[in-house]
């Protein structure tokens, strides 16, 4: 009971403090700042066209330049969706029920942001958030500083904007410098300002909070709750402003840098101490992918990466952040760029000179074709399919069942998404063209009563009979 009381008292103190901070800055005219800054946020809606439905998605975006460019969080778009499935992008201004067409520009691998451009008529009504960045160095919020941001109500409430206010509770490099506010401070993807109206950051996805769920009969159950509409975490302006120009050259997001070191796992301080690597951060390479630049450079599984271009990896908390740091070092570079890795191999330090390559074709870029009567989408297999299933990526025969329609003949026969179709009617599938040609013939043949697939699923293979009648 005492601990509860103490906690309550601490909370109370903080609130009082925030109130004092707020009153000292009372000279600023928040309503006026609000009215200007609300023009730098929008809601973006798009439709994902799947085999059987059109699924609308709404997310919040921030206007970043005078050309009407808008950035969305990486989670705004399903990474498995093919570019041609993403349709009808529309931009909605806060408080307006009618949207205007917009264009999708692609995703930047380094920041993860999706870029969208508003149409000509809308642009004039938008104010880029850079207008509030101020001159000189980006504003860095201090702990305990009061900050505010914007939230948007749902579409059926015309995306009405509302204000959220909080104070910075914590600043942490994970590895990007991130501010955690006491409460929700903006919708994910929308900017955060200080009381003078200067941009201090961009809200990201909210971290979860664990609550105890207590029923009258059962034991308390810890439950993680994540607020998807509002976030209390934001990247500070210095992590945002320098990268706003990273508009993809092509909607595919290419070129995409690739190293091919798979399953990087952080080395914690205890392990470093054990290996006599005092005050040294590192990441263990689980596997080196076949045919990758990492393999060509001579990186080996179980190597521990200690430094990049001679600079030791930073010591970050939580330990996992060092992995994100390394991944970002790859993503920020272009294919062809060279760098050196210092790795610990056994007891020896080895220098690896690597040249980044271009990412192999991704599943979302692979060719697909949907067969409605059969109820299956065949997709060309890609490098990652082979890696996931521990197959040689050089040999990519067969097709992947990308989608299986519920209740369809393929589903009834037991086909599942991600099954790898090796044979159709007893004959090996050579490639995607071969598979689709044969499936098309089966689909067109109204007389056909059934056909047989040989599919591999994980480590098992099964013969499936697909009954068409």
């Amino acid at each position: 009971m005492t601990s509860f009381r103490r906690l309550f008292r601490a909370r109370f103190l903080v609130i009082t403090f925030a109130a004092v901070a707020g009153s000292s800055a009372a000279t600023t005219d928040l309503p006026a700042l609000w009215a200007e800054r609300v023009k730098s946020v929008v809601a973006v809606e798009y439709v994902t066209v799947t085999e059987t439905e059109r699924r609308p998605t709404v997310s919040m975006g921030t206007v970043v330049d005078a050309a009407g460019t808008i950035i969305l969080q990486s989670v705004a778009i399903d990474p498995r969706a093919a570019l041609r499935q993403l349709k009808d992008f529309r931009v909605y201004l806060p408080g307006e029920g009618a949207g205007a067409p917009a264009e999708y520009l692609g995703q930047d691998a380094f920041t993860g942001w999706h870029f969208v451009r508003a149409g000509q008529e809308t642009r004039a009504r938008l104010t880029p958030v850079t207008a509030f960045a101020g001159p000189g160095e980006p504003r860095r919020p201090a702990i305990a500083e009061a900050v505010w941001g914007i939230g948007l109500r749902p579409k059926d409430e015309d995306f009405q904007p509302y204000i959220l206010r909080s104070s910075v509770a914590l600043l942490q490099a994970i590895p990007q410098l991130t501010a955690i506010a006491q409460q929700e401070v903006a919708a994910p993807g929308l900017p955060v300002f200080d009381l003078q109206g200067a941009l201090v950051g961009l809200a990201g996805p909210s971290g979860g909070q664990t609550f105890l769920q207590i029923s009258r009969t059962g034991r308390p159950v810890p439950t993680l709750l994540i607020n998807v509409e509002e976030s209390s975490a934001f990247l500070v302006a210095a992590e945002v402003l320098p990268h706003l120009g990273r508009i993809p050259r092509d909607p595919s997001g290419r070129p995409l840098a690739w190293l091919g070191a798979y399953g990087l796992e952080p080395m914690d301080r205890e392990v470093a101490k054990f290996l006599n690597l005092q005050a040294q951060s590192g990441a263990v390479v689980s596997e080196v992918l076949e045919g990758s630049p990492a393999e060509a450079a001579g990186l080996k599984p179980r190597d521990i990466v200690l430094a990049l271009n001679g600079a030791p990896l930073p010591q970050l908390k939580p330990d996992r952040a060092v992995v994100a740091f390394l991944e970002r070092e790859v993503e920020r570079r272009a294919p062809g760029e060279k760098f050196t890795l210092t790795v610990l191999r056994g007891t020896e330090r080895v220098e690896i000179a690597a040249a980044l390559g271009e990412q192999p074709k991704l599943a979302r870029e692979a060719e697909r074709r949907y067969f409605d009567r059969l109820g299956v989408t065949a997709r060309e297999p890609v490098y990652a399919d082979a890696i996931e299933r521990r197959q040689r990526p050089g040999v990519l025969a067969g097709v992947v069942a990308h989608f299986v329609k519920a209740g369809s003949p393929a589903a009834t026969a037991g086909l599942r998404p991600d099954d790898w179709v090796r044979e159709i009617d007893g004959a090996e599938v050579k490639d995607f063209a071969d598979a689709t040609a044969r499936l098309a013939l089966i689909e067109a043949d109204a007389e056909r009563a059934e056909f047989v697939l040989l599919v591999a699923r994980g480590n098992e293979t099964a013969v499936l009979r697909v009954k068409l009648k």
Partner: protein, 421 residues
């Protein structure tokens, strides 16, 4: 009832078992209860593999005269869910007990609708007799983890009965009205009414003999998972009742190495034609391979597409997925050796390592971040080629606690962790 039936009742026993359990990251004892049937006057008791396992540390058998006698495990075969115990005969003689043995009946002659009785100790109620009929004398089902994680059902069919079979009936006999044992009651469907299953006497007879003689049933393995053709004959252009479908080939197995592929049709084994049209026909085909000595060369005639080819495979010893288990108590970890089957199933690079099957909260393993399902690959940079390596490192830690380096794998991610005193 008949005199045979009364005699049978005297041969039914209940079994109390105390077992070691490793799952929790420590050594624990658990106790359980089942049934069994005396099959000889010299104290051989037949029961289920899931009643008495190899981890049993204390077995007590209650005879029909309500007296308790100690027993030991003689043999164990999870594939057919059978185990054999031997009573402590010195004790039996000393106390002057007379043992009544049951006799096998002919399970292959059972017909659907025939009256049968299950005798056992359901929920601890000793010498309970329930009555029913044979619902199906030849039921096929296999269960990849049916016997406490061990595989079962590939090498036998089952008798299905509506005689009530409840927990505790396991290992007790299913008998005809003349008291002949036609099956060993094994399991019932949970949440269903009167769907009970028993291992038929034809299987039990053979397994009992092997277990008494050798303590185990040694089987050959080639790595083919057979599938019933049902009515795929047309599709494969086969005459009816010819061949069996190769529905899967275990990676790295002798069959895979010889070049067999899923979708092939296996026509004959060493010239003996096989017929796997229906699932019930699969166990005899499995036994055709299993019954051969380990290291036998088998000629398999296989139809692939339009052509028929012959493959030669050399059999290996059949192994369970479940490897040897141990508890590393100071670390709060219980582990299971990576078996050949487990390594193949999980596409591991080799058979080095031990799978973590239990973690004690707050112990060094838990604190270091080891979780259930992780594979311990190395300890202090030494490969875990056997459980001995882990046991030695653990003993060293126990004697002089010092930071110990573990290399673990989770899915395909390799981590280095430190066990700290």
């Amino acid at each position: 009832m008949s005199r045979g039936f009364n005699r049978l009742l005297e041969s039914v026993v209940s079994i109390n078992v105390r077992e070691l359990a490793f799952e929790s990251g420590a050594r624990r004892y658990t106790s359980s209860l089942g049934s069994g049937v005396l099959m000889s006057e010299d104290g051989v008791v037949l029961t289920n593999a899931h009643v008495v396992s190899r981890r049993a540390v204390e077995i007590n058998v209650t005879l029909s005269n309500l007296e308790r006698v100690g027993a030991r495990l003689v043999g164990w075969d999870h594939w057919t869910d059978l185990a054999v115990l031997r009573l402590d005969m010195d004790e039996v003689k000393r106390r002057g007990f007379k043992l009544a043995a049951a006799r096998f009946g002919e399970s292959e002659k059972l017909f659907p609708g025939q009256e049968v009785y299950a005798v056992g100790t359901p929920h601890g109620l000793t010498r309970t007799v329930t009555r029913g009929i044979v619902s199906n004398p030849n039921r096929y089902f296999e269960d990849n983890r049916g016997i406490n994680g061990y595989e079962t059902g590939m090498f036998n069919t089952w008798l299905q009965t509506d005689a009530a079979i409840n927990p505790g009936n396991s290992g007790g006999p299913l008998v005809t009205s003349d008291g002949r044992v036609v099956g060993i009651s094994s399991r019932g469907y949970l949440g269903a009414n009167n769907l009970g299953f028993a291992i038929p006497a034809t299987t039990a007879r053979v397994v009992l003999e092997s277990l008494v003689r050798d303590g185990a049933v040694v089987r050959s393995y080639v790595g083919i998972v057979p599938g019933a053709l049902q009515d795929l004959e047309n599709f494969y252009a086969l005459a009816l009742n010819t061949g069996v479908l190769v529905s899967s080939v275990d990676p790295g197995s002798p069959a895979a190495k010889a070049g067999l592929r899923p979708g092939d049709i296996l026509l004959s084994i060493d010239g003996a034609r096989v017929d796997g049209r229906f699932p019930e026909q699969l166990p005899p085909i499995q036994n055709l391979v299993a019954s051969r000595p380990i290291g036998s060369e088998l000629r398999l005639a296989v139809k692939r597409g339009a052509e028929t080819r012959e493959f030669t495979v050399v059999t290996e010893r059949l192994e369970s997925r479940v490897g040897e288990e141990w508890a590393l108590e100071k670390w709060g970890l219980s582990v299971r050796r990576v078996s050949r089957t487990y390594a193949r199933e999980n596409q591991l690079e080799g058979t080095d390592g031990a799978v973590v099957i239990g973690v004690q909260p707050g112990f060094p393993g838990d604190v270091a971040g080891v979780a259930r399902g992780d594979i311990l690959l190395k300890v202090n940079q030494q490969a875990v080629g056997s459980l001995e390596v882990l046991k030695q490192a653990h003993a060293a830690y126990e004697a002089a606690p010092a930071p110990t380096l573990l290399e673990t794998q989770r899915n395909r991610r390799v981590s280095l962790l430190i066990l700290k005193p």
